[in-house]
Subunit: 234 residues, 2 copies
Amino acid sequence: MARSFGQYCGVSTALELVGERWALLIVRDLLVGPRRYTDLKQGLPRVPTNILSARLRELQDAGIVRRVALAHCGLVYELTPYGRELEDVVLALGRWGFKAMGAPEDGDVVTIDSLTMALRTAFRPDAARAQPDTAYELHVGDVALLATVANGALAVRPVANARPVDLVAATGEAREPQLVIAAGPRIRDVIAGTLAPDAAIAEGAVHVLAGEAALLERFAATFHLDPEVAERAS
Amino acid sequence: MARSFGQYCGVSTALELVGERWALLIVRDLLVGPRRYTDLKQGLPRVPTNILSARLRELQDAGIVRRVALAHCGLVYELTPYGRELEDVVLALGRWGFKAMGAPEDGDVVTIDSLTMALRTAFRPDAARAQPDTAYELHVGDVALLATVANGALAVRPVANARPVDLVAATGEAREPQLVIAAGPRIRDVIAGTLAPDAAIAEGAVHVLAGEAALLERFAATFHLDPEVAERAS
DNA sequence: CCGGATCCGAATCGATACTG
DNA sequence: CAGTATCGATTCGGATCCGG
């Protein structure tokens, strides 16, 4: 399959399976849920279609992705259980890369799936448990999603939902968001802890559309990546 | 620098910085300690020298690696604090890839650094704390290292050491290993939990060179990757 | 519209040779 | 020891096309 690194080692084995360009971004999107070919292409606007289909085939051959035909609804790709275990890898990568993010390049997009995984990356279960359950509605660019924090667990779903309302009701996730905010790229700085919530509002980096502005403090405490000072013996 | 994925996202940022071929394997080796160019080339026998120097330059430009001139001892490359934070990423990748490892391909090598990181990947601090402190000497292929477990912490160093003996004594790591074993690739199965210690000895997958064979049970409990059954709601 | 396959120029990688 | 230089082999990117 992929060119070998010539090592009998877990890291090199992993990189042979998911180290090719675009592969882990496909996995990232599939970690949010099963996706159709077209969904993936839309969520990864810069991936050439031949690369997307090549990666999907390789991921299937490796037992990471499975292709499922839905009754009367077309095809979806979904992670196998083994593929879902890549969550730790993607979260670790996201956590590390988040700190290196500067201002967005021209033409950079924020997608529903990437924002969903970013929220999962930054989510602090213990910080969440220390505060009242809250539902946040977050708008970034033309992406909008509802993040519901309850009992130390996080659920994220798109807000302009294609899902039937009764499904939402059934999962008990439906609830009026206590805070609705619209943010630009500097929401990253709020989560990274380099921009205080009140400063973010004062500077217009975050707009409160509904709810009490003070709840942004709770948001920032719940979704937070600490500097992790990296004091370690070499 | 690298071609952009066109997303404002932590995962894609990380992949732009360390997603190129060989980059994370270089980081893996540097996580064990500072290395000279020649050390890296030896630990990554299949990397073309032009790629190695290109990656080292890119990693330096990204602030992940630093090039340090030692007094009268040449140059070494070492991770910056930010680079050292990639440990979580490399360990997560190693843990995941370890389970996908089959039999080694022809010509696959096991290096000191890859084996050291594999032991770190599989190390269970709580399992270690539940048992007496132990020093293991492990030979795989032509690689030999000493893994010292004390107070729930792991220290690994090469056994045919170029380091002065008094340095070893100063760090308190020096101690006669209670168990010395020589193993082939199937040591992987012992760590993965698919080959029981006594069966490994019976089948000749692991040879006990010194110490009590029963200590291999302790080794297997200390260095272990559980199946992590991945039962999760899709 | 969905789910790709095909073609081709550009960029990257791999192998080897060579240099201060 | 610490890399450059070169060049053929691969892979990637962009665009187009095609069957359902």
